[in-house]
Amino acid sequence: MDVFFLGLSLPFYLTAAVSLVVYVTVARDRPRRIALTFLSIALVLHGLAIGLRAAAVGTVVVNSVHDELSLLAWLIVAAYLALQVRYRLGVVGALVSPLAFLLTLSAYLVHSGTESLPSNLRNAWLPAHVAPAFLGYAIFAVAFCISLIYLLQERRLKSRRRGGVLQGLPSLETLDELNYRVVAWGFALFTMGIITGSLLAKVTWGAFWTWEPKQILSVLAWLLYAVLLQTRSIGWRGRRAARLTIAGFALLVISFLGLNLLFPGRHGGTFG
């Protein structure tokens, strides 16, 4: 049943993505509003799919690639829509919604039945680890999109090429400040995720730190984001901040996907 709702959300994601790309090219407000409606509907349908799976197992389910992708896509869209309430940034949506569509589509394609969790993971630390960590990922993904747009706009302004400036894009200052705030939120949640994660590790495996590739990469990314947030006061902003945001997200993508597929450890599917 859950896969039915997930499938149902796909056309809504796609329509939203197309509308937002149209919005960026024609700079009219209507496609943006249509896209937001479709995105909200997709969010509800997709949320239903996740809820049904969670209900079947009785806790947050992230023990398969399908669940990870699905939850991540859902949180990215939720984070973007929450941001959209305060900032009217259709352009960011033009990157976020295709990303969400592709993630959800992949989740749909690798759909698998739910497996019950090993008993040693059935404790309160699991949701306390998974929820902030995934929300942190999702927010960093939105920051990644903002930074890409910053670099695009920055390059166009720098090059002074004729026909270079895109009309619909927000100002550099707006993007830079927004990026900083979004990264700060992501950082706070990600930090919580790491702390609760190490507590979870202590409870289930008996050690806070086990030198797992996932742990190492996550801490590296955490350090990168920490540097980004700290160096703003000495003038590392703008392009440099955008590049750090992108680098940090790249580390997370490697740890998130690459390790699941290449070096499956405790974080990737098997949960030994």
């Binding site: 700079a27 302004l157 004729r162 026909g163 100002s171 550099l172 000495i234 003038g235």
Partner: protein
Amino acid sequence: MEHDIVIVGLNHVTAPVAVREQVALADDALADANRRLRAIHGIDEAAIVSTCNRVELVTCAHDGDGAVERVRQFMQTHLAKQPLDIAPYLYTHRGRQAVRHLFRVASSLDSMVVGEPQILGQLKDFYARAVEVGVTGAVLNRCFHKAFSVAKRIRTETEIASRAVSVSSAAVELATKIFDRLQDKTALLIGAGKMGELAARHLMAGGVGDMMVTNRTFDHAVELAREFKATPVPFDHFPRYLHLADIVIGSTAATSFILTPPLIQEALRERKGRPMFCIDLSVPRNFDPRVNELDNVYVYDIDDLGGVAEDNRDARAREAEKAERIVEEEVETFLRWLSHLDVVPTIVALRDKAEAIRRGELEKTLRQLKDVSPREREALESLTAAIVNKILHAPIACLKRQDRETGTFDLDAIRRLFRLEESGDA
């Protein structure tokens, strides 16, 4: 009766300012001029528009050529202030052409700077003034309101007004691409060149909060600073203030670079990397182009800005084409409405509608009554026809009387009361 919209006028294209200022109406003379224009024989409705770029006498006339000639004469005798023959500067638009002209004026397609937003407000004001003295009627009311809605439609459906088309406004446009808001930003104007002053003026109008002015001759700096409510800065000390400036405008006659990478680098350090927008409007250039290679600094010289402005002009021209198509479309709709205001088609439509209803209802009844003899059928026919004719007699007589008098209110009302647009047109 005929409703011919006639516009006689002159504008920035047909008449030089020396002529326009002779004809332009003083504010207190407007009401009287409106009344006089309306009083001209053959003129049913009137509205005068008089801005610094145009004077337009918009009328609805029913006496074709004669009325046109009298309106032209009126403009010469009542508006031209000194013995000046304004005939060569006048244009006359009638019918479709006049409607199109009014729509284009409202949409700023006929403006000196195409897309400028003021004209619509001005037009609304002058229309309201004419309404105030009661010289407009059904045709002009509809025509003006349509013009306003066309202007609004063009504003939302095209980008005709959203691009900067001069070097100075391009500078402001770029500033808003770099900065989120200009209110808390400070500009530094170096030198007293004309272009620099113009750009500074545009930036202030664009909302820049604070301004510093520096010049080799300090007195000039003080003078200019007073005009801009800015802070004068001694030329030798300006690098000390550089870090306070978010926007730097260079406009000096210097032959060597006055802004160099080390200077800007120092300022950036103090600014903690907050972005700087450097606008170099001098030839030869004042700012070392290598400054642009620094992070968070954007240097634009006069050619770059000219390029942006030209791109925007091209874009605006493309948008104007789109706008012209919208105007054509709307002129068509308006003329269709106007043609309905003629009496004969209205009477025909009214009769057709009543006849269609009569026939429909009669058939329905006949189908229900079985065994109707031809005679009974004939009786029913003449009964219903008589009822319809009796009911329509009064409104049709009223319409025919209207034909001889002037005014269009009843005609419009009848069309609306009987919903003739919906069924009669097809």
